[in-house]
Chain length 447, copies 2
């Protein structure tokens, strides 16, 4: 890439605007967006207004909603109308969702009744549904067109479509009859009919389908766009792969957040307020804090053991941490595999059996290592060492098996498996580990 940003920024500083314009109109819209983002408000508006109309719309898509808001507030109604007309429908909906009410009002002034009805319909699709992701600018064809006619049709209507690489064949009721790629059209005999080359085994989604399901279809079928139909099977829109990549990132971020015991948030970290961040974290921290006091109660129940053999206390952090880490490993692998569709709930016993074996191997290895360290190197009492190592083995097995089971059970119960991650597993397993610890101690150390 040719990064001429610095050169252009210094031109702007020197107010050489003619030179700036000349340079800027040949740049990738993403780079123009970066330049505008780095300017102060008045300069950014100035540079934006010197862009040719079409570039202006492209650049508008690549700047932050903050700068978008500044620009919309400053430009003329005519300029706004041009941007609104040229934005793809899904991008306009995203814009309306981000802008404050007074800006939305300014934008909606420029749409007619019918458009406003359509906008309202789109704003009403549940967040993270296929309906909220789709755009309405697609190419539709009739099955009795020849390929030559179809290509002419694309040539004359394609300019405002988000993609022309997949075309949708519909009947008079707008029901989807087939799909044909531009590739197929270009590479076929122009005298054939569309129905001769169209694919009837169409992969499609409903407006109400969840975005995670939609993303899974893109992965499964290696497609770059999917048609969306309504309840009556009428074609209503398409979803393109650039939006799906955002969905994949967003769903993964949600999983990360849930797995670290937080309420998921869509906003970028630096854009999220301190109080929102605190609120997202407090609920789970409180639940887990209260649950952890049950573990404290177990210690209280075994107070006699603790007081007669104080050395047992010193190994509690090691046992708790190792249990937590071992459980976190299994839970993470299982949650991720469920998310990628590599394992399903029917694999429950296969997974549990696998984790049982893995936990026995790791547990025995850790127990032996630990015995060598605390008995031979540190000279800990033999029976205390044995108690610790047996507990260690038991803790690793328990936490790994529980860590693998809970996410699958959650999925079966239609809950989000990502909740059943490290923090919750740790809290659950801690209690079990301590009970075993003191029970073995009582027997082996005759307390």
């Amino acid at each position: 890439m040719k990064w001429e940003n610095d050169e252009i920024l210094s031109m702007i500083e020197q107010k050489k605007y003619t030179d700036v314009r000349e340079k800027i109109i040949n740049l990738n819209p993403v780079h123009v967006g970066e330049i505008i983002e780095s300017l102060d408000v008045s300069e950014s508006i100035l540079v934006f207004r010197m862009l040719p109309k079409d570039l202006a719309v492209d650049v508008f898509n690549y700047i932050s909603s903050e700068v978008q808001e500044n620009i919309i507030s400053a430009i003329t109604d005519k300029e706004i109308k041009h941007i609104i007309d040229e934005l793809y429908f899904d991008d306009m909906i995203d814009l309306l969702e981000e802008m404050p009410a007074k800006v939305v009002k300014k934008i909606l002034q420029h749409s007619n009744v019918e458009e406003r009805k359509l906008i309202n319909e789109f704003l009403n699709y549940p967040e993270s549904s296929a309906g909220s992701l789709m755009t309405i600018e697609y190419v539709d064809l009739k099955k009795n067109m020849t390929i030559g006619e179809a290509i002419e049709h694309i040539k004359y209507t394609g300019i405002n479509k988000e993609t022309i690489y997949n075309c949708y064949v519909i009947n008079e009721e707008r029901k989807l009859e087939g799909i044909v790629s531009l590739r197929k059209l270009i590479l076929s005999d122009y005298n054939l009919k569309v129905e001769d080359v169209m694919n009837k085994d169409v992969v499609y989604v409903n407006t109400g389908n969840d975005q995670e399901y939609v993303a899974s279809l893109f992965k499964k079928y290696d497609i770059i766009v999917v048609p969306v139909v309504d309840m009556e099977d009428r074609l209503t829109g398409i979803i393109t792969i650039d939006d799906i990549i955002d969905v994949i990132d967003q769903e993964t971020t949600e999983d990360f957040q849930k797995m670290a015991a937080m309420a998921p948030s869509e906003e970028a970290y630096l854009d999220t307020g301190v109080f929102t961040l605190a609120k997202n974290r407090l609920m789970w921290l409180t639940i887990l804090m209260v649950s952890a006091t049950f573990t404290g109660n177990i210690l209280k129940r075994f107070e006699d053991v603790l007081q007669s053999v104080v050395v047992l206390t010193f190994f509690i952090p090691m046992l708790m941490d190792t249990g937590g880490n071992a459980g976190s490993q299994s839970a993470t692998l299982v949650i991720r595999s469920l998310a990628l569709g590599e394992i399903e709930t029917k694999d429950f016993f296969k997974v549990v059996y696998k984790e049982l074996r893995v936990s026995l191997i790791t547990g025995i290895a850790l127990a032996i290592l630990n015995f060598l360290r605390i008995y031979f190197l540190q000279g800990t009492d033999f029976y205390v060492s044995v108690t610790i190592c047996i507990t260690l083995l038991f803790t690793v097995v328990l936490s790994k098996v529980v860590g693998a089971m809970l996410p699958i059970i959650a999925k079966k119960l239609k809950m989000d498996p990502a909740i059943m991650a490290g923090p919750l597993i740790t809290t659950i397993v801690d209690a079990g580990a301590l009970i075993v610890y003191f029970s073995i101690a009582k027997v082996l150390l005759h307390i």
Copy 2:
């Protein structure tokens, strides 16, 4: 989707092969692949061989490497040659990397010296480099072609190209001069020259670039294919977005694994052997287990405090768990934001200041809740309650600030931030929390 899989499976059982063939040739290759996957070895080969040649190649791409191996071992040399000739180059390289040596030999018999040289070159690109992801089937154009000529050129050469939606304009030395989309060509006047409509601000990558960087460009520029050039800036291949989605999933899975203290593995969970799984987990478990014993040593140092006020022991699990969870939350958010490019190392102080405020809010809230619970509800001694609550506040602040700092420091040191997640943070913060706990106890409880 029309799921006719069950119907077809029962036809296969009844050996109605003509009917099966008729049904199957109209299906999406992904569905045919699913049917073949569910059959036993001999049936799967039988069904595969009844597919028309072109469908066979498509289906071949959607079946597991195990079934691919069975099929290659069973079909004739001529059939193998057809598949090899029709597979895209990147898919063939993937196939060769998966197959055992004797199958690779069988495949390579059908390639000539030049092809074998090229294959070797591709097999030598480092794993997870742009070179290892690219394919060589792209459309190249010359800048002095008219658009009409360019479309004719695409029409005659496009059939074997992985994508025809982006075409690359190169000079005699194969150096990249520009890029033009099929969309632009179709929608332009056919008498214009390619150079009139091509885009010269080309986004491209080098064969040696890391796949994570390549994926970040796809996200930044909303592109569906990127050209790859060699050290001398000659066009050598292209990378398409379907491979990038796999890269995104793979990189995220690696992050999940590292954050849960495991060595990353590319294989799917169910395909990974028990010993490999155990090995991937043991190293970090051992390191963290040994580190956790330092926390035990702190308990030992404060043995006198523990013995005079045993009740302090009961709150150790709650303090440790809450610290671990609070740190894990911050570390996870920071690691994920770094991975998505939402924050950079230069944001260090901004992030730390933010976490300081968030941790004060959450810490104070948790401390107050906890005080209400243990002093008023459980009737714990006043000074013990105060000790616990101050420690809780301190632990939350320490773990959140450390949890936010370490991933950014790791990134600055060119290490993977994902290592600095929950497990490591917990181990580090535990020690600090306990030292503060007992130090405050000593003062407040006059021990």
